[in-house]
């Protein structure tokens, strides 16, 4: 529809401001820029020393891991993957396995049972989520969102939230915790989770526009223009509504207002990035019935988003903690969660390990894809990434949250030393997060979650 967009003077000036902001911060699109000569400051926002984009992602697998199969043999650079992580063999030089990290805030306190909700909720927030079935969900801002707040304006999308849990259970979730803690990894604020998208088609269209190849960029631009014409109206409407509201109602409307602003910023930013990339693949049809296919499609979307530099921050919840999915494809009829309480029964442990390996296989597939994708500076996208693969539960049988199974993939643009198995002194997971934030060039934060310092990575 061809309409001119600006409705009044004030909205024009707001946009102009946003545009200006975008112009100062925007990097040229991925393929067109040259690496900066020499090693520049390692703390440039969301950028590697060579000037290429630096990405961070967090991939969650559910219900802990079977430790005897997860941890490699050996240590340091001299190590061998065991059964679970063996699929990572091809990218061994690009990953480090980290033992000793913990999320003490996922452990039971006075709040009692509910380890799955807490593990999932604490994973990227580092906080003890509030035990409530609904009225007042409260976690913390997640690490990816802190990064996104700082570097999000450099890409068309500040962050991407994915999941492969297409069907949600009805009824309440883990032991009196709201389902919000289990089905979301990313939290924009302590009370606003960012719902992840399970449908690969939706992810693709959001990133690159709908329709067939060749039409997408135009469709994408058109949609944005249409959206802008209504943003001013709804913003006004929300403001006029807000005046008559009480506390909690105001909060709800604030979520709406924040969302309006986020879209405005994104549209303003998108205009600074020239043409929308148009990947050479067909738009995915939707959620495939086969779980492995689904996971791979989501990973493919994530890889595309990174390769096209559409975003540098992402989270992917492969399945929520407590997931009780059976794996008929592995001839495992029992649900994963039931199995994870194996009570040291060898047959159950074996099945759990099969599932652990299944997830690791999908992750390996993703890493290989990133390793094969050439980045702007001549290295690979995997080289210029920091990807955490882990779970907020350590031993699914006993519900422990120390010595969490964690893999950190990517070279961080050369800042990390992958290709090793590091057995760390017990330390909060949040220490790792803080160090990753530093690498991303985010102004140093003193603390995050239950951090006690930084992890030398």
């Amino acid at each position: 529809m061809k309409t001119s967009m600006n409705l009044d003077a004030s909205s024009t000036s707001r946009r102009r401001f946003l545009r200006g902001l975008g112009a100062c911060l925007a990097l040229p699109a991925c393929e067109s820029f040259l690496p900066r000569a020499g090693a520049a400051s390692a703390t440039a926002l969301g950028t590697t020393a060579s000037g290429a984009p630096l990405r961070m992602a967090f991939v969650y697998f559910p219900n802990g891991a079977i430790h005897e199969h997860f941890w490699p043999d050996g240590r340091g650079a001299d190590f061998n993957f065991k059964r679970t992580l063996e699929p990572l063999e091809k990218v061994k030089g690009s990953v480090q396995v980290l033992s000793g990290l913990e999320h003490r805030n996922a452990e039971p306190g006075p709040d009692g049972a509910g380890d799955h909700a807490r593990a999932n909720g604490a994973f990227l927030t580092g906080v003890r989520v509030k035990k409530t079935a609904g009225a007042d969900i409260y976690a913390g801002v997640s690490i990816d969102q802190i990064a996104a707040q700082h570097i999000g304006q450099r890409t068309r999308f500040s962050s991407l939230e994915l999941s492969a849990d297409a069907v949600r259970k009805s009824g309440s979730c883990d032991s009196g915790y709201s389902c919000a803690y289990e089905y979301n990894l990313a939290w924009r604020s302590a009370t606003s989770p960012l719902a992840p998208e399970p449908n690969p088609r939706m992810v693709f269209e959001r990133l690159f526009g709908g329709g067939s190849r060749g039409d997408r960029a135009r469709n994408f631009t058109q949609r944005q223009q249409q959206q802008r014409s209504i943003l001013d109206f709804v913003l006004d409407d929300a403001r006029s509504l807000q005046s008559g509201l009480t506390h909690r109602d105001k909060d709800k409307l604030d979520e709406y207002l924040t969302s309006v602003r986020a879209i405005e910023e994104r549209i303003a930013r998108a205009e600074q990035f020239g043409t929308t990339p148009d990947p050479e693949i067909e738009t995915p049809a939707g959620i495939p019935a086969d779980y492995e296919q689904h996971l791979r499609l989501m990973f493919e979307m994530l890889a595309l988003a990174f390769e096209t530099d559409s975003t540098r921050v992402a989270t992917f919840l492969m399945a929520h903690d407590g997931s009780n999915r059976p794996f008929p494809e592995l001839n495992v009829a029992e649900g994963h969660h039931s199995l994870s309480h194996h009570r040291n029964d060898p047959a159950m442990i074996d099945k759990c390990a099969q599932i652990d390996r299944f997830y690791a296989t999908q992750f390996a597939w993703f890493l290989e894809k990133l390793a094969a994708a050439k980045d702007a500076d001549g290295t690979s996208v995997l080289h210029n990434s920091m990807i955490v693969y882990g779970c907020g539960n350590s031993d699914g049988n006993r519900h422990t949250h120390h010595n969490l199974p964690v893999v950190l993939a990517g070279n961080g643009g050369g800042a990390l030393q992958p290709g090793q198995y590091r057995t760390l002194e017990p330390a909060p997971m949040c220490n790792l997060f803080l160090s990753m934030l530093d690498r991303m060039g985010v102004p140093p934060m003193e603390r995050f979650g239950d951090s006690t310092g930084r992890l030398a990575i």
Binding site: A113, I137, C179, A195, R206, V234, S340
Partner: protein, 845 residues
Amino acid sequence: MPPRTYLKSASQINLAVVLSLAGIMGASANGLRSHDKTRFEKEVRPILEEHCFDCHGDGEKKGNVAFDAFLSTAELAGKTDLWMAVLKNLRAGLMPPEKEPRVPAASIKVLEDWIKEGAFGLDATNPDPGRVTLRRLNRVEYGNTIRDLMGVDFQADAEFPADDTGYGFDNIGDVLSTSPLLLEKYMAGAETIVAQAVPLVSKSLPERSVAGREFRGAPEERDTQRLSLYRASDLTYRVRIQQAGTYRVNFRATVFGSFDFDPARAVVTAFVDGRECWKKELFWQDRKPLDISAEQRWEPGEYEVRFVVAPLVGADKKPAPRPGEGDTYVNVDFDGVKVAGPTERESWTMTPGYDRFFPRPDPPSNPAEWPAYAREVLQRFATRAFRRPADAATVEKLTAIAQLAWKSPGTGFEQGITRALTAVLASPRFLFRVEGAQSETVAGQHPAIDEYALASRLSYFLWSTMPDEELTALATRGELRKNLGAQIRRMLADPRIGELVENFAGQWLQTRDIESVSIDARVVQARDAGTERAGRERFERFRKLNEDIDAATRAGDAAKAAELRKELAEARAKFRGQGRVEFSAELRTAMKREAEMLFRHLLREDRSVRDLVDADYTFLNEPLAAHYGIPEVKGKEMRLVKLPADSPRGGVLTMGTTLAVTSNPNRTSPVKRGIFILENILGTPTPPAPPDVPSLEASEKTADGRELSLREALALHREQPLCSSCHNRMDPLGLAFENFNAMGLWREKERGQPIPPVAGQLITGEKFANVTELKRLLANERRDDFYHCLTEKLLTYALGRGPEACDVPAIDEIVGRLRREDGRFSALIHGIIESVPFQKRRADL
């Protein structure tokens, strides 16, 4: 008096309360009125001392509860969670424990009254309605509202992310959040919906379609007739013309051949009113639409259209299907005809749906008059969309959006309006349910919600959609409250009440989950029969064979590979379809329908809600009846079936859906089934298992490797004091259902061994011999518990918030009404709608 806030006490005592209810209001530590204090000392404390202090006082602190471990009476009174638990446990007969003397009814009354008035500080003269947070429409409500407002179907559950749930429901205001992703989707959705729903021209060429199946001589039942070129077809239809004029007839037909060549050929002819208008010899080719149309001047009357296929190659020439390659063919798909006309412009008629948005037949011809008309159009639309009057300033802003659009050349009136309508559908007043209060309010009193808000609460509660015209008209006139009873009855009789069934019952009884729940029919049945091991070995053998085939292929040993393949095929054939029951989609849907139809039946016939627990009838079709082993139900149609006297079915607890959603993928879960009853029927949920205790059922083996039966494992578990207090409550309930496997099939054996007797005892002492007796106990002796539980659940759903201490009087009143009217469904629905929390809004005092 103002509601007091519940202050967290700084006391050292850690109160692990038996029942946890979040977000409760109550008396603060220092807000206890002096006469309540006196009343506590004089009337309440003696009862507690006599009945409770043996375990919860004088140094005893069972379950971490001691009534005398507080610094002051006021501090004790301020423990709202504790008193809520006392109330529940007392009423449900859980406390004092069964073997202790009962608390006399009069004393219970004293306790109840004091808890409500003293501990909760509730003021009967100005009842507190609690707080309802601004509710966003959830996916279901959004889709329904769009359907009613715009006249188009929108697949909200496919387009929008799932809504989070709280208190077991997905319509809880506090939990329904908004994210940039969601708002983006709302905006994209608004574009799509408006483009689909709003006609851009007032008049259009009248058109009608006649599906292929409506033709005489149509061989098939479906709209599209699949006509083979090997078979002669002659399809005719008589078009009735009422107005003289020129008509265009379009035959909608597509020819397509199989991937491989097929020799079929035929002459296809189309006739309009006896005149041949198209004739062609068709043969094997790729999919290609046939472009057949004719124009004809017609006077009123009836005219024949005809589509004929005359084969040129006999069916005997059709190649035999080759194994593995499938059939070859050439077909014409005939979708019927489209008749458009009269094509003369002056005969055009109003575009369907136009008057839903535009009250006048045409926009003013002078664009200078457009803004005034736009205000009229937008005022009308925004008022419907917002479910309350749109103010002038809003309408003005919307008009400005339309005006801006008109500035672009070639943009018509309607097109400009669509821009404004899109804005309305993305605005918070549409997406959120904004509620106002009645203006004539006594100072210091909690006001009633206004009539518009009441209309919305009613329609979203009962229909999950916006108010219809009648509700809106009454609200606009301020007469809805006056006609409340009649309106509730009208709404209950309306087909849209199906939404309450699907959304409330669907979540309360979790029937929404039955279609997706993971149950492995093969393993479940192998387990019952005790052939799990054989199954595993068979799988291993298949896997080994497959590996060997791969190895042989890699090694280039074709002969060996072929031999192995043959062996695999034989092994497979031997096991295929050995009396296996599929847990098919069809069966799952029937199970879902069974529960929904019962709920619907009780609503329609205004029967007792106790039928939900125990009934001598249910709803079945042939596959489900066969699954239940009930004879003489034929056909796919679901219908009411009177059950044989000895049938264990009837009521939701023995329905396939409940039995399956409370099972694990490979076997039953007595614990889950027990918890289901405690949570959803008795309303006395157990606290979650303490930390570090693994889900008990995970283990069915002892350390020496012997496999324990589930029952043995449970019994072992109950020996541990830590586990017994809760498992004593849930296990007997869950074990009573052990004769139903994870698919809800009746079974006599598990692991090939007979299932031991399922007799048991409720924690309140009542004994039962089998599942039928258990259901009877729940529906009769424990009737009040069920009334309470159902009322709390339905109130939660109706209000979009969890139950709070201030709701206790309202819930008690509704339960009283249910008791007086023997559980009639209308007593529950009317009771909820007429209750204080539904009718009022908490004043910000």
